[in-house]
Amino acid sequence: MNNELALTESTYYILLSLYQPQHGYGIMQRTEELSGGRVRLAAGTLYGALSSMSDKGWIRLLPGESGSRKKEYSLTAQGLLALKNELDRLKELVENGEKILGGNDHD
């Protein structure tokens, strides 16, 4: 494991939504769908997160069709790695929680 910081919930879901290329509105819909309506990304939050993630090299802007103002983003190899690291971290949290509080095996 590494010492990377935990991802925020918004970051995690945005990256997960971008497993397949999406435009902004698509990311919002996908996140809401994945989280069963619990996580609703607001426009300003998403826009800011997308630009920080581009700076970090986790996502990239796909070359747009001419005339279209809609921007499409996709996950990079680095972004995928960040996502996988976070998944490992989350698994550890869940495993420890279940071990101590009792998962399905104990009651």
């Binding site: 918004s10 509105y25 919002m28 990304l41 607001a42 426009a43 800011g48």
Partner: protein, 172 residues
């Protein structure tokens, strides 16, 4: 002409920068009463008649950035206008909840951006005030008063920032 013009009214009102949440609340109350924000100007708000509660209004301090307004229009929001660094949007309430910020991190970044603007303008005024005072020009007093006011605003924004940070210590 048979086409009916939408009834409009102009309200002049002043809000301090640090009361932007109060301003947003007021604009939404107006929309609830059937007056949707249609145009903005310096201390000037133009409303047009709408079904009560038909729109949700949001405002934000944001640098000039066309791709951001495009992004918001993509999700169904209408760009109303800009006053200095403040931008105003509205979206039909029937499209669902409309927010600009959905996590603490982005709310903090917004507050920090406002704080930076206040600091920059405040320091500029202080400098002008001091230079004028040394030059024996009494007009500098205006700048000093303005700088003090902006520093007070900075304190208010700082208070909001600290409150958010405290909340984030345990929960995101």
């Amino acid at each position: 002409m048979t086409e009916k013009m939408t009834e409009r009214k102009t309200v002049r009102k002043w809000f301090w920068v640090w009361d932007f949440d109060k301003e947003e609340r007021w604009l939404n109350q107006m929309a609830m009463q059937g007056w949707a924000l249609a145009e903005v100007g310096w201390c000037r708000y133009v409303f047009e008649k709408c079904e009560p509660g038909a729109y949700i209004i949001r405002l934000q301090m944001h640098p000039r950035d066309e791709s951001y307004t495009d992004f918001l229009e993509e999700i169904g929001a209408e760009y109303i206008g800009r006053v200095v660094q403040w931008i105003y949007f509205r979206r039909e309430a029937e499209q669902g909840e409309f927010q600009l910020f959905s996590d603490t991190q982005s709310r903090l970044e917004h507050l920090q951006w406002i704080a930076r603007m206040l600091l920059a303008i405040g320091l500029t005024n202080l400098l002008i005030g001091v230079v004028n005072a040394f030059a024996g020009n009494p007009i500098g007093a205006v700048n000093v008063v303005l700088a003090t006011l902006l520093m007070y605003g900075l304190g208010r924004i700082h208070g909001k920032t600290e409150q958010l940070k405290r909340e984030r210590e345990l929960q995101e």
